[in-house]
């Protein structure tokens, strides 16, 4: 297998283009690839479609920065805080420009990605019957059960151009270990044309091969693997980082006004060169509070043949 290690800047430059459809935030609240999100903003990607279930602050930041024209998601906001104010400004006032939303529930986003991951045009479901979401929906349509049961809904496949995930560790080929809740990580990676993995650590190949059940992302699906310690902050990463709730709530307060959002963006994204600089700006006391130093190791699993 080839060596797929790249810098974050090079990986975003090489694999994410204007007008791409990008899936991220797939594990839900944990492991959101915020370092990659901020790099997309710094590289001024435009006309993006964002795909995801919920999106704890990440979609809001990209929308406010003018990177996005379309959202395919179940929920856009700040999980602990409530509304996403950039999302609201875009939809209510067209600031910084109008965007469109393809409404989903978490289940239907997942089924759409799963259909693409399976290579089929749609998957049937019972969710959403009686909801206004599925009314005149471009990707969810009534369907008769070919086996004679009651009517269903069919959810059409979504194929992201790029899926971006953050995991605990990977080898240089992109084979990645992830533990904790998985959300739609597998579906997003298997569905995508290209995948970028950012991770806390790039480890020796043998570490990954020692526990193949934990290899949630096979390297053959990965185009670039980037070592970015702290690359999901302020989101948590099990065993590495706690949730940085102060940053989530601070953003929620500051992004309430357009001026506040712009100042936040200047301070935390545009005026910051890299994830290392982000961590330095957070400061040592915050890093000490957020970094997980305790160990609670899983029992070993014997793979001897």
């Amino acid at each position: 297998m080839s060596d797929k290690r790249q810098s974050l800047g090079d990986a975003i430059a090489a694999h994410v283009h204007d007008a791409d459809a990008i899936a991220l935030g797939l594990a839900l609240e944990s492991g959101i690839p915020f370092a990659a999100v901020h790099e997309l903003i710094r590289q001024r990607r435009r006309d993006l479609t964002l795909i995801g279930p919920i999106s704890d602050m990440a979609f809001d930041q990209l929308i406010g920065a003018g990177c996005v024209t379309r959202v395919i998601a179940a929920w856009v906001g700040n999980v602990a805080g409530g509304s996403g104010y950039c999302f609201r400004r875009a939809l209510e006032q067209g600031i910084p420009h109008p965007i469109t939303v393809e409404e989903h529930s978490n289940f239907t986003v997942g089924l759409a990605l799963k259909a693409a991951a399976m290579g089929v045009p749609y998957l049937p479901t019972l969710t959403g019957i009686g909801s206004d979401i599925v009314r005149d929906h471009p990707r969810i349509r009534p369907q008769d059960d070919p086996f004679g049961g009651p009517p269903l809904l069919a959810v059409g496949a979504i194929r992201p151009d790029v899926t971006i995930v953050h995991t605990q560790r990977a080898d240089r080929h992109g084979n990645a270990h992830l533990w904790g809740n998985l959300g739609l990580t597998l579906e997003g990676v298997y569905a995508a044309r290209r995948t970028i993995v950012t991770c806390e650590e790039i480890v020796a190949d043998e570490v990954i091969r020692s526990d193949p059940n934990r290899t949630v992302i096979p390297g053959l699906l990965v185009d670039a693997v980037v070592e970015v310690p702290g690359g999901a902050l302020p989101a948590s990463v099990q065993g590495y980082w706690r949730r940085d709730f102060e940053t989530f709530l601070g953003y929620h307060g500051r992004s309430r006004t357009l001026e506040g959002y712009r100042a936040w963006l200047d301070e935390w994204v545009l005026g910051i060169a890299s994830r290392d600089a982000y961590l330095a700006h957070l400061g040592q006391p915050a890093l000490d509070r957020l970094r997980v130093r305790d160990q609670r190791l899983a029992a070993a699993a014997n793979f001897a043949p």
Partner: protein, 253 residues
Amino acid sequence: MSAIATYTRRELMVVAAGREIHDREVVFVGMRLPLLGFGLAKATHAPEAVGLFENGIIRDRPAEAFIYTMGDPPNIAGALACVGLLDVMSLLQQGRVDVGFIGGAEVDPLGNLNTTWAGGEGRPVRLPGSGGGQDIASLAQRTVLIMEHEPRRFRERVSYVTSPGHFPGRRRGGPATLITTLGVFDLRQGRFRLRSLHPEVSLAHVRAATGFAVESDGTPAVTEPPTQEELAYIRHADPQGFWTGDHRGKGGD
């Protein structure tokens, strides 16, 4: 401890939510207050209940420390399983979830919830969207709704049905209970009936805060206040009062 327990309205709502969980049930735990309500039920009257979280966590113990979200590390450590969203949604779709929790910005007498666009007559306000709300509303054997009780939120008909309530032809479940800042309501069979008023709330207050008719039989019951054991759990799980508020007064906030 004083003889008269003091507690916030939100603590009372968490207690009411926890009491909707019966022992040995499979619970689809939502965001915010139900995160505490599930832990409370586990720690008190429902020790054998199992919680499913839409990010893929399955656990049978309360979170190990305070959590803002279901994905926070104390909700992962000690879990029974960490799987995918489609795995837990599939259990929901099979009908294996007894009770699910959903919040909303607007509700109507049939228990339809709107979390997409609010505003009615005023300028529309964009809300975050369904999340898993539509799925829980569609697929759980029964749902418990949690709401702020304000006239603008209680509408004869919600302007957008994000999470469906009772409708003809519904195959399963539907809203069973609505817990608000003012009382607890029974929504089974598509009727909106008062079950209990929170302490120091009058029926007239509820009627004034509800944009449609509220059924009530005789003299309404009063919501059972939290026990010391329940309050102790809530204050252990939410020590700063992030979810349950800092306006501790007898039943008020």
